[in-house]
Amino acid sequence: MIVAERKSIPDLVEILQDHKKILVLGCGTCVTVCLAGGEREVSIISSALRIASNIHGLDFEIEELTIERQCDNVFIEEATDAINRNDAVLSLGCGAGVQALAERYAKKPIYAGLDTAFIGILEDRGIWAEKCAACGACVLHQYGGICPITRCAKQMLNGPCGGSREDRCEVRPDRPCAWQLIYHRLKGIGQLERLTEIAPPKNWEPGHGGGCRVIVREDHRI
């Protein structure tokens, strides 16, 4: 899923201070699961904004709504009336949701209430971790299902850097070295020989290196 974190209330107040009628719009998909922008967070952030409005004399009028998916026009439609009757929208969707709204409502200010962080999973209670960099040319089959591009801070493809430790990454003491995980995983599944071959430089063009990406499926264009 896409994992995001809420911006701070002071930051949101600064972003919204020139508006009066504000729709706080949640999203029922990824950001609900990662506890950043679902119905519950819409309620919490709206309450915090009302308190901040009283303290700073900003006169906010906050409306709350959560739709199933902000990145999908079919669901965005459900929010049209609420968007039209407010001066601005604080989207608690991911960056894709915010932009889908902005593209559809040309004259309405749409603001991001979250910092979209990564594609990841819930690793443990309250801990989300990045697992995929969306590089556009998956290499997981070569590395035992552990992504060195995402999980090695230096995205090394031929083994660990000298800073690798059995219990930690050089860059983050609280995280394992991806290469230690890859080594043990490949050894465990009898594929350690995969590490002995030199992996050539990666083609980054299918990733963001090739510019903003679009997938066109002709079979779905009819």
Partner: protein
């Protein structure tokens, strides 16, 4: 035809090799390099020029050229952290045109461990891919995209190894790949745990790695117990055992600790010299180039 470097000649001849390190300053003139060259010109066969290990300083290519002009053969260090394959190959061509004959290929300390932690991450290629690119440029005269190089490109490529990196099997996979990718010499991170180093070099001997590349063991004179603790805390590639830190602490005041640090360094060199498979010593002075002549003299190098 480009000349063969002094370092390469010594590797081929089987001489015991001493290399040292020059850490440029964040300066816009050649004074620091010239001052350092005064300490480094006598004994080391070649001197590495660090590539922005802690944040921006005078470029390693410029530093290498200044050393060359001062009569010192440089080892131009080039990290993959800051430059993509376009810039790396361009700099390599430029270095060759300026007379640089030795290149050390490494990934470099991650940017978040430098003073410029907000920098974008590059890491387009890794250190092994950079070595392979240099090998292709040397052997085939072509760049990664197949473009033919005009003129002769010939540099001696080296790499870094971290003997303390475990498990040993993974360490050796990485070392073997570096040698296969063209590393003619290997400079190790500073050795403080002699037992671990002895085990590492023994394994490299068993695998035949030491007959294919020249391994130069890194040594570093520690200034104080506080410096040692700070270094090992920040850089996981520096493993400094508690016994070394205890010894520094027991030495007493700052001057006594610095003296003890030097004594530990000299002892380390002497023990390393007795090990099969070691072809030389790389003195990592960490910006304290003035200590190099003292180390060379005291260790009888």
């Amino acid at each position: 035809m480009p000349q063969i470097s002094k370092l390469e000649t010594m590797i081929t001849a089987g001489n015991f090799i001493i290399t040292a390190e020059f850490l440029p300053l964040p300066g816009a003139d050649s004074k620091a390099a010239e001052t350092a060259s005064g300490f480094l010109k006598d004994r080391p066969a070649a001197v590495n020029v660090a590539d922005n290990p802690h944040g921006p300083i005078l470029s390693s290519l410029a530093g290498s050229v200044i050393l060359e002009k001062s009569g010192i053969e440089p080892v131009y260090q080039i990290v993959t952290r800051d430059r993509n394959r376009i810039a790396l190959q361009s700099d390599l061509l430029g270095a060759a045109a300026l007379g640089i004959k030795n290149v050390l290929c490494l990934s470099g300390h991650h940017q978040t461990l430098t003073g410029s932690r907000q920098s974008a991450s590059v890491y387009d290629i890794d250190s092994i891919q950079l070595l392979a690119a240099v090998k292709q440029m040397n052997d085939d005269g072509v760049l990664l995209d197949g473009t033919k190089i005009a003129g002769d490109f010939k540099v001696l490529a080296g790499a870094v190894a971290t003997p303390d990196m475990k498990p040993l099997e993974l360490n050796m996979i990485r070392l073997t790949k570096k040698v296969a990718a063209g590393a003619r010499f290997i400079q190790t991170q500073a050795v403080f745990d002699l037992d671990a180093f002895a085990g590492w070099i023994k394994k490299a001997n068993q695998l035949g790695i030491t007959s294919k590349t020249a391994i130069l063991a890194g040594v570093m004179p520690l200034e104080s117990a506080a410096e040692a603790e700070s270094l090992r805390e920040k850089y996981t590639d520096l493993v400094i055992p508690d016994s070394v830190i205890d010894r520094l602490k027991a030495a007493g005041d700052a001057a006594a600790q610095a003296k003890e640090g030097m004594a530990i360094c000299i002892e380390t060199i002497k023990k390393i010299q007795s090990l099969d498979g070691v072809r030389g010593i790389h003195i990592l002075s960490g910006g304290k180039e003035h200590r190099v002549p003292e180390i060379v003299k005291a260790a009888g190098l």
